[in-house]
Amino acid sequence: MRRFIVMLGIGLALSATTGAQAYHRFWANCNDDAPTFMTTMTRDAAQDYANAARYEGYQWGGGCWNYDDADSYPNDPPEVTSTHGEGGDCSGLTFKTWRESTDTWRDGRYYWRALRNVHGPYTAASFRAGNGAPNHTVAKSTAGVMDAFASNTHIGMVFMRSLYGGDQIVEAKCEACGTNIFYRTYRSDSSYGGVGRWGWTG
């Protein structure tokens, strides 16, 4: 009996340790490497970059993922940065895909590798307002491939214009839905505005 209680105590201690380590996990694989300054930035390449982030999960305040096509830590509590799981959030994915700088006054092109943990200084609302030198608002009717639609709480990029009024949107949507391409009608939703990145070279 005594041995059982001791083993139970050890088991509980280990499970508590695992619980404590449940957070601060995936970010241990991430880095803070400097970005690579680029002279070019094509919409094709941006599509490829965002497409490769599909299935890699969603993390509030995050911007770090690998390319194994799986969310290493799904179903974290929503809107908690400290869970440190895999994936970007909506604005983090947009920031990296658009090759932006962490300095809002720089409009150059900065390539961030997937495992570079960076979110960038913009929320969905600040993207929507066109804040930052690389960003601007665009008319929704003219928003094209890898432009974006942003509301006060979400941003998604146009992967492909679709028939029937909607768009194929590449976005980091939520913990439960992860990062993927979804059919959305943001273009006709009054809470969303059109946003673009200056400086495409193709």
């Binding site: 604005s91 809002t104 200084p121 969905a124 006060n152 979400h154």
Partner: protein, 205 residues
């Protein structure tokens, strides 16, 4: 026009030259002046910080908490159906796209009257060019004053109009990590300390 703070100690002036009063219970503190107004009374001061589409979501008679501190100033108000709260953040926009006094605006969703996230804004600079971070603090039950550790003094904000309190600081801001750390103490109406905490905020969503 920046607040006098030459010796690195307690500043003597607020952002626009007003006298920096001390909150007696906290030695060496500075009270950020605050008042509650109706939106209509602020006119363009509020409209200039919001996108046109957002202006219609805020009632004309909405209560607005206006605060002016040593380095920052802000407006805080809820939308018409109280599903979210806006803040206009004051300072210099380093990208040069927004004109003074506003350098940013944020929106936070409310759930059961509480924000899930402090809605950190690091897009602003103070008048000397230092990164200036803004974040919301939700007062705990009974809290009336929010103290924020600054360089050499504590800035005190009053909780008003049952809204989250928008605090500002140039201390502990990392623009490269899009994060900021605030040392926050909450006091009751007479200045008794209720809770002391570190708010580690990151830009998100």
């Amino acid at each position: 026009m920046a607040a006098a703070c030459d010796s690195g100690g307690r500043p003597k002036e607020l952002l626009y030259g007003g006298k920096a009063s001390e909150f007696r219970p906290v030695r060496g503190s500075v009270i950020a002046v605050g008042r509650v107004l109706r939106r209509a009374a602020l006119g363009r001061r509020l409209d200039d910080c919001l996108l046109r589409g957002d202006r219609t979501t805020v009632a004309r008679d909405a209560l607005v908490a206006e605060r002016v501190g040593v380095d920052g100033e802000s407006l805080t108000f809820a939308n018409r159906n109280r599903t979210g709260v806006y803040a206009c953040d004051g300072g210099v926009d380093p990208a040069g796209e927004r004109r003074l006094p506003w350098c940013g605006a944020v929106f936070g969703e409310l759930e059961d009257g509480h924000l899930l996230d402090p809605r950190l804004d690091i897009n602003c600079r103070d008048r000397k060019g230092k990164p200036l971070a803004y974040a919301f603090v939700q007062p705990v039950a009974g809290a009336h004053w929010i103290g924020v550790e600054q360089d050499g003094y504590v800035e005190i904000y009053e909780a008003m109009a049952a809204l989250p309190v928008r605090i500002a600081s140039t201390r502990g801001v990392s623009t490269h990590e899009a994060s900021a750390t605030f040392e926050v103490t909450q006091y009751d109406v007479e200045g008794r300390e209720l809770v002391r905490s570190r708010l580690e905020a990151a830009v998100a969503g």
